[in-house]
């Protein structure tokens, strides 16, 4: 019995084909990235800007600040920084509160949120999710569930008399067990994500609210345009 050997393509041909496809893929991805990057950057900035106005009622204008050794220093709104404090002003130029970015690990990936701090109420009065890869329909309840959103009607973050820490740190409790103004009720079916929000706010407010209160005297006069 004779066996006929069928010759396949050479190693070179196979490697050349894969290298060619990989090069083409690389070129296409880089091209689309370069084309879309400026648009995505503008979209993200616009989205953040719109979120600042939403997260604190009455905001008509805002100014970016950064924490430099405990002192809040004004920086241009266009300047990128991951750890910014957005001072929010009403239509008369009065400082009414701050919008603050915070991030932490959720169920699937890092969740980035923006929360609004009201100076008058000394409380968090709103939160919006800026970036999330949580399961659609479950994890995204942190933005849609009316019961969960009620937590942010007035989430207490009062500071101690020496303004060095919070009187009560934010706590996450099981759904229906909230008894104090500094507690967050979790969501059934999205426990991990809602707990993550509680943890993100706990960490962020613990550090940032005292800084705001310590700097408030210098920031309170109406902003000179």
């Amino acid at each position: 019995m004779s066996t006929e050997h069928v010759k396949g393509p050479s190693t070179f041909v196979m490697v050349r084909a894969l290298a060619g496809v990989a090069t083409l893929s690389g070129l296409l991805i880089v091209l689309v990235y370069q084309l879309t990057f400026p648009i995505i950057k503008i979209n993200k900035a616009e989205f953040l800007k719109a979120s600042i106005f939403k997260v604190l009622d009455g905001t008509k204008d805002f100014q970016k600040f950064v924490n430099k050794d405990g002192k809040l220093e004004k920086i241009p709104n266009e300047q990128e920084t991951p750890d910014a404090y957005f001072a929010c002003y009403d239509d008369s130029g009065k400082l009414i509160g701050f919008a603050i970015q915070a991030a932490g690990m959720g169920f699937a990936d890092v969740i980035k949120v923006l929360y609004g701090y009201s100076i008058e109420k000394e409380a968090i009065v709103g939160h919006l999710v800026l970036e999330t890869k949580e399961t659609p329909g479950l994890g995204d309840k942190i933005e849609k569930d009316p019961q969960f959103l009620k937590n942010f009607d007035e989430l207490d973050v009062k500071v101690t008399d020496d303004k060095k820490s919070l009187v009560n740190l934010i706590q996450t409790v099981k759904k229906g067990e909230k008894t104090e103004k500094w507690q967050i009720d979790t969501i059934t079916g999205a426990t991990i994500t809602s707990k993550a929000i509680g943890r993100i706010l706990h960490e962020s407010t613990k550090e940032k609210i005292p800084v705001i209160q310590q700097n408030l005297q210098n920031l309170m006069p109406p902003r000179a345009n």
Partner: protein, 203 residues
């Protein structure tokens, strides 16, 4: 357009629907179909990847040896998924946020690899594009049906417009993963009974 080419477009819409008949692409169908908007966005993103990868696979069919074809097809599909991810972010951050991690998972949608392997790699550019368009539209039809059923029952709305009175108590389970399986089972039942009735009529 020849009858055969037209057939390759029509068949995936109904008779060989990728979801209701071939049960392909179940991951996004079950995971992202909890609202009409999410379903349509995922459907359109998948259609884009399907058509672009079908076009490139068809164009390169003579230069890709069959021994390395699967690796090459996956690379091509992953390229267009990455491009879709950037394009969606450029078009709407809101949609990008809603689809979460599932855009990246289009890479492992076996419907796309199946189309590339079974049709695009053996046909000319025009035919491959027409067939991929048929598969994509068939997929959009199926995921849209899922999204509509789940949103109406699970949220009491259709495309965020209320369809019931305020007294309606939403079946939250339909939005949850279990609801995806219920809705799919229900739609498969309806789809197959219609198919059987049509077959009986033909006979």
């Amino acid at each position: 357009m020849s009858a055969k080419t037209f057939d390759s477009f029509i068949k995936p819409l109904w008779k060989e629907n990728p979801v209701f008949v071939q049960l392909l692409g179940m991951c996004p169908v079950l995971a992202v179909s909890n609202s009409v908007y999410n379903s349509l966005a995922m459907g359109l993103a998948t259609l884009f990847v399907l058509m672009m990868s079908a076009a490139l696979v068809s164009l390169l069919r003579k230069v890709i040896p069959k021994q390395v074809r699967i690796a090459a097809y996956i690379l091509i599909i992953a390229t267009f998924v990455t491009m879709a991810e950037y394009l969606i972010q450029a078009i709407s951050l809101e949609v990008y946020k809603n689809l979460g991690a599932f855009i990246a998972l289009i890479v492992v949608n076996c419907m796309i690899l199946g189309t590339a392997e079974a049709f695009s790699s053996k046909n000319t550019l025009g035919k491959a594009l027409i067939q991929a368009f048929g598969v994509g539209v068939g997929f959009i039809f199926a995921i849209f049906c899922m999204g509509a059923v789940r949103e109406i029952l699970g949220n009491g709305t259709f495309a965020e417009i209320p369809v019931f009175s305020e007294n309606y108590e939403p079946w939250v389970i339909m939005i949850l993963p279990g609801g995806g399986f219920f809705a799919l089972g229900l739609l498969l039942l309806v789809f197959n009974s219609i198919q059987q009735k049509l077959k009986k009529k033909e006979n």
